[in-house]
Amino acid sequence: MAALLEVRGLRAGFDTDTGYIEVLDGVSFELAAGETLGLVGESGCGKSVSALSVMNLLPQPAGKITAGSIGFQNRDLVTLPKEEFHDVRGNRISMIFQEPMTALNPVHRVGNQIIEAVKLHEPNLSSAIARRRALEMLERVGIPAPDQRLKEYPHQLSGGMRQRVMIAMALTMQPDLLIADEPTTALDVTIQAQILDLLREMQRESGMAILFITHDLGVIAELCDRVTVMYAGCVVEQATVTQLFSTPRHPYTQGLLRSIPRLDATPKQPLTTIPGTVPALIDMPAGCRFRNRCLNAEDDCELRSPDLIHAAGRQIACHHPVAEVMP
């Protein structure tokens, strides 16, 4: 498998008033062309920071990448000069965000914001052609009366429509990779399903790869080929969707899957949870970061943090993984 995106040993964090705080502790994952990879984990585990690192969009000047590499089409995005990055962003890699309400500029017309995305990468294109491209994109993402929508401002559109505009904007240059950072979290369930369908359809048409960030395992099951599970700035398990859902090997993955409410469960039972809380970023325990909450934890978990190792077609970072068969 020739990887389109290959993130290796990525360390990133933020300078704060109380000192540097590391958010990513050696994150590695890869993504093949045309593939959909789900990046899952709870809030604060570093999913978004990983994605923003790929785009070199970490909040400045606080955020920085301290180690690791991000290979993309024979380039290392970590060391890529700023000027060359303008050519990658929005062109080869695009991104859509969680909040369609604020991601569009409120004082510019929707059409102009899409046309701008085209013109940034093809400055010689005539305005008429750029406008026609924008119109086509709006049509493709299923916006009714695109002619009229082009002239409207973001506040005149609903949340779902705005996310469609964001997708249209992200896909105008037919990128090889789309990073979707919780694009459906802020939307109604019915709209969520529409947006997921749209992304799938767009992917089928263009053959782009998608890095889909979410904390919703249901969305992962529906959309993704493979899943990377993150916990407290580390990758704990990586597997195909089928493998992961049928036989989770990492105790954390197992805990996550058990936490999903099931229709066939006995009603009125308390939902299963993972005991304890995520350790604070400024106070990460030595050894395995999950050991305080882990049912399988033993003495050696405290001594050494587990490496991400290949095991039977998947990757897992655990000293005492659970057995292949889900109990």
């Binding site: 303008h86 962003r89 965000f97 500029n105 409120p106 401002y153 964001m166 904007m169």
Partner: protein, 345 residues
Amino acid sequence: MTSYFIRRLLLVIPTFLGITLLVFAVTRVVPGGPIERAMNEALLAQTDSAQMIDMNSVAGAALSEDQLAELRAYYGFDKPWHESYVIWLGRVMQLDLGMSTRYTEPVWDIIKNRFPISIFYGITTLILTYAVCIPLGIAKALRHNSVFDNATSAVVFFGYALPGYVVAIALLTALASAWEWFPLGGFVSDNFDQLSTLDQAIDILYHATLPLIAYLAGSFAVMTFMVKNSLMDNLSSDYVRTAIAKGMPFKRAVFRHALRNSLIPVATSFGQLISVIISGSFLIEKIFNIDGFGLLGFESLVERDYPVVMGILVISSLLFLVGNILSDICVAIVDPRVKFGENGS
């Protein structure tokens, strides 16, 4: 939106009536006024001849009852105040602001003479404030917490902390009196009429430099920080991140996306500044001997020259009310989300 602005314009009428009615009533209640002034003048004229006589009886005797009644009728004090107000308002409707009791000249002529001076200072201050504050605010936001940012903050706040008249006196004693680089005061030189157009312009600037510095010293802080803070808010907003994610260089995203949103609060202040144009600062005008609106208003209050007080009030309150509407129009222009008067908003 048009109907909203028509409604706003119609609301100017009751507000204007309220303001003038209140001030008119106050002028009738407070002690002093043209009658008493006339009495004092008569008294002074008499005390020269009759020195040792009891003051009250002299004052009473200075003007006869007939003379007083004549004076009251002349100034309109013989009728109840509400009746006088209606008469005054009727004249204002015909653009007649009455006669100054101090100069016995039409109020409009007095005010008209001050207009060029006040408008010159007002507009220059306005333009310089915007010309300095907007670029400075942008530069400070982009270099937040740098040496440049902190140094300019110190300077701007230093100016803000100093009262304008203190700056005026300091400049006057140092640059005009001790070193004689600038004139001591006035708006133009005495031989202004004989100068060529170019020299006239230079002459105005020569006289205006020190007062303008005094006016401007304190005026940068508020707007500079308004621009800086609102630009910083917008720089960290999601849509600026979206613009960069599209492949736009950061600098361009600042000017194309963040800046316009940051100018919305600045646009709000535009209307208020229009009324500031003619208000002026009487202390600075006094120090530099500039015959502007501020000084005129202050002196006419002290001298109880009520027609002038009311005349200034009419003009400044109208400008203020219209300025507020202009602010709203400016905001509606820069922010497409603002739609006044539609859907009940």
